[in-house]
Each structure stands twice: as structure tokens, then as C-alpha cells.
């Protein structure tokens, strides 16, 4: 499938960049004329993934979050959110609803469940001590 458009973004793992990241991805898909709901779903999923990089990947330390987004000819949007942080030992366990490693920080453990509910597909690849890549796929109706 041919790529219609693409963009790359990187920024420091500061929590103030969570709103920047989701707004940037939303602005990128704007010319597909998404519905308010499609846009809100994508922003929510991106926000969850970026928060995971900051809170879990880098454990609130310094690091860089990388985002690439592509729009394909079938109006499929693919967003990859990547960190070079601590990685996830057990991805299957991490993706279970309500599983959290940070209950003291009031993390609900719903990040992956929200991504899965709000996107058409979610893939996670991770290596301990190397980092994590989350791939979100969403079709924007023509």
C-alpha cells in the first residue's frame, strides 16, 4: 500500500509534551477530514502511549520520545510511538486491563485497554533495557 503522507517527531520525555504530541498527530490527520469522534479516539490512544513512554519507559527520567505517523491510500493512519527506555518484561501481562506497576501514582492500568478500544489495531514490541514501540492503526472513514 502506497504512503500518502508521513511525518516524524521527537521530543523530551516531559509530561507537558503529552498534550503537544496528541495535538500534533491530530493536526497531521486533519486533511483526511476525520469526525470529531475519530479524532478524539486517536488523540486518546496517542496520549496513553506517550504517557507510557514517560511514566514507564523512562520512569520519569530524561529520554526522548519518537513518533512517526503515516497515512496510506486506504485512509489508514499508522502511528508508531517509541521510547528507548527500560522495556517491558512481559507484554501480555502489561496489556491486561487494570494491570499497573504504578498504583501509588494513581495509574489506573487502563492504557493499553483504551488504545485497543479506540483504535482498529494495536501492536506492541518491547525489549528489556532497549525500549518499547507501540503501533496504533486507525481507519478514518472516507
Amino acid at each position: 500500500m502506497k504512503t500518502k503522507n508521513e511525518m516524524k517527531l521527537s521530543f523530551p520525555s516531559k509530561s507537558c509534551n503529552e498534550s503537544f504530541a496528541r495535538a500534533a498527530v491530530a493536526a497531521f490527520v486533519m486533511n483526511l477530514d476525520p469526525t470529531v469522534e475519530e479524532l478524539s479516539d486517536l488523540k486518546t490512544a496517542v496520549s496513553e502511549a506517550v504517557t507510557n513512554c514517560i511514566v514507564h519507559g523512562y520512569r520519569r527520567g530524561a529520554g526522548t520520545v519518537f513518533i512517526t505517523a503515516k497515512i496510506f491510500e486506504d485512509n489508514r493512519v499508522v502511528v508508531k510511538i517509541r521510547d528507548r527506555g527500560c522495556g517491558i518484561e512481559d507484554v501480555k501481562q502489561a496489556m491486561q486491563p487494570l494491570f499497573t506497576t504504578a498504583p501509588d501514582e494513581e495509574r489506573a492500568g487502563l492504557g493499553f485497554a483504551v488504545m485497543q478500544s479506540f483504535c482498529d489495531a494495536v501492536r506492541v514490541s518491547s525489549k528489556p533495557q532497549k525500549g518499547t514501540t507501540v503501533t496504533l492503526e486507525k481507519y478514518i472513514a472516507v
Binding site: 509530561s15 496520549s47 504517557t51 494513581e106 485497554a113
Partner: protein
């Protein structure tokens, strides 16, 4: 971002704008500060002006539920927009009876 109102033992916090992990930390400090000093019978979180929320909002509500239990009060969340309610529905918070 946050306005509060207190009368008849009810503390209402009107949350405005976007609730993500960054904003939730600030909201938590402000709401808990007010609740600790006023010790209301009921803490009411008004979500009517919330435009965006990710799962950090669920953590915020769960945390305030626990805080209110500690000081012997109750929590209620009101005026939740439909697209935000979807996230609460996934959380199991409905079972606590605090969502209106």
C-alpha cells in the same frame, strides 16, 4: 483549569479543559488541598467542561474516592460527556456508584 465552590458541606470542583497525566497531577494537588482543609461531607467533581480525558482521569477519580473515604466523606462525579464516559465504563468505576 479548576474552580471550586463550597456550601452546605458540599465541595464542588469544576474541572475545565484536558485531563491527561500532566494535568491530573496538578488537579489532584488542588482538589486534595481544598478537601483536606474543608473536610466536606461530599466532594462533587463536575466534568461538564472537560474536553479531553485519557485514563489518567480514571486514576484521578479513583484516588479522590480513596481520599474521601479516608476523611469520612463521599464522592460524586457529574456531567460526564458521553465520549469521556466510555473510558469510565471500561474502568469498573461504575460499580462504586459515584458516576452520575
Amino acid at each position: 483549569m479548576l474552580q471550586t465552590d463550597y456550601h452546605d458541606n458540599v465541595l464542588t470542583a469544576y474541572i475545565d479543559g484536558e485531563i491527561d497525566h500532566d494535568a491530573a497531577a496538578r488537579l489532584r494537588t488542588s482538589i486534595d488541598g481544598a478537601a483536606q482543609s474543608l473536610k466536606p461531607r461530599l466532594l462533587c467533581l463536575d466534568f461538564g467542561s472537560v474536553r479531553f480525558m485519557d485514563s489518567s482521569g480514571v486514576g484521578l477519580v479513583m484516588g479522590r474516592y480513596r481520599q474521601m473515604k479516608l476523611i469520612g466523606g463521599r464522592l460524586r462525579v457529574v456531567n460526564i460527556p458521553d465520549h469521556i464516559y466510555r473510558i469510565f465504563a471500561m474502568s469498573g468505576l461504575e460499580g462504586l456508584g459515584v458516576l452520575r
